[in-house]
Symmetry: D2
Subunit: 144 residues, 4 copies
């Protein structure tokens, strides 16, 4: 038995407010859906991210992102956000995020989070990713 990345699936209903005049979801709004997916993945893995920020002085900001928009989402779509860690180092976590509608891939993404101390001087705020965060993203499994 080893530990493998847990796959989170989270459903989001697209609000009217997230559309733009092209009648589809604005490209920035997908970041919202992906962020909700990560928060739910952590919750299912036992980490309440709000409490994490409150009880440590740490946060997990996005430091890098790559998004590939395949098909436009629309108002009122029910989107499935699939979230999975796909690379972890002491310094950062890469999350894979795929958004689908009825099984069709609308967006593929990789988002990298770092860990920072909110109270430290910004130039020296970088911290090691806490084990509690990493643990919440993994589950026992068989690495084939």
């Amino acid at each position: 038995v080893a530990f493998v990345a847990r796959r989170g699936k989270h459903i989001v209903r697209v609000p009217y407010a997230d559309t733009d005049k092209a009648k589809v979801v604005h490209h920035a709004a997908y970041f919202r859906f992906l962020e909700m997916g990560r928060v739910e993945l952590l919750r299912e893995g036992g980490l309440d991210y709000r409490r994490f920020e409150e009880t440590t002085d740490l946060g997990l900001p996005v430091v890098e992102a790559r998004l590939r928009y395949r098909v436009a989402a629309r108002f009122d779509d029910l989107l499935e956000v699939e979230t999975q860690v796909d690379q972890a180092t002491r310094a950062s976590l890469w999350f894979n995020g795929v958004i689908r509608r009825d099984g069709i891939v609308l967006l593929e993404s990789r988002v990298r989070l770092a860990c920072v101390s909110f109270t430290a001087d910004p130039a020296e705020a970088l911290r090691k990713i806490p084990d509690a965060v990493l643990d919440a993203c993994l589950e026992p499994g068989w690495d084939v």
Copy 2:
């Protein structure tokens, strides 16, 4: 000579992101424009609102709002946001905000701000509106 409410005028260009699928500005986005108008009014009156939050433990949250949408704003419009205090008490400040395009009124609003301490218990966080804030909204004038 008395003191009267200063009238701020601030120009905002409507971003694509603030439109929705009805091809006009989403109703929530006007709050952004009004907020920018208040920050600029305070700045012109000598109060840097960012520094105010940083150097006190105080903030000025919106506690009430009334908005009347007359004509829809659209992408790329140059909007004029007119901002003016129209009622002040120890406990709160009412701001009048009118948004125009080419002189035509698109939105009329009244927004009430209170003053709270960020570090106090929320139930007891209410504070008197600081004189510095009120002063920034006034100018010497003749009340006709």
Copy 3:
């Protein structure tokens, strides 16, 4: 038996993106939650609002809003959005929207929607509220 306003209850999880530097939900974001509440109320009443916009040339823009912020919502809160029509005329619909967390009222609101034709000249775009919209907001009941 008469017809009374149906009461919709819809749960929203507050995204990180909807907070601001005061560490609470930004005042504009409540409009998002209220809008989601109205869309769900209509859906439960048999009206799919997306299909409504697609199959008519009509939309239901917000033309007036009054919001009273009582207690701040925070990141990751589970909010209950209660939505109910409280006044209907040929020309507009007033919705009552109350947002609660654990039974505590965070926000009270009244939002007025009009009905417009997307293809008509804006100055003459106003239309009567369709019966299908009104029907979706009502249910058989006893007006006490």
Copy 4:
């Protein structure tokens, strides 16, 4: 004399609404600033993007994006958004976008736009990038 990519510089003031509870600008909001930068680059090059969408049935959606967050922007910062095409094909345009505060790089990005017909079937909506768009991004110069 050849044609080289014109460099646009556009100043944006960070609104309070674009911050989040980590007290810095939310990662999705940078997309807003970059989008404004592209619209201004096109305008300076003679292309009014609103009129472009209105007079053709074409739009320029974001189909790919890579963002590298270096230093966090904060409320009320004056940001300089530098925008420049850095690769153009018949099918898409890559824009380089760099956001600075006081000369310090906060964000580096590459955003790829495609051209689509709003009225065509989504599966067959892709169009060649119009010359007018490309021309607006170039200027006579010396390719060193």
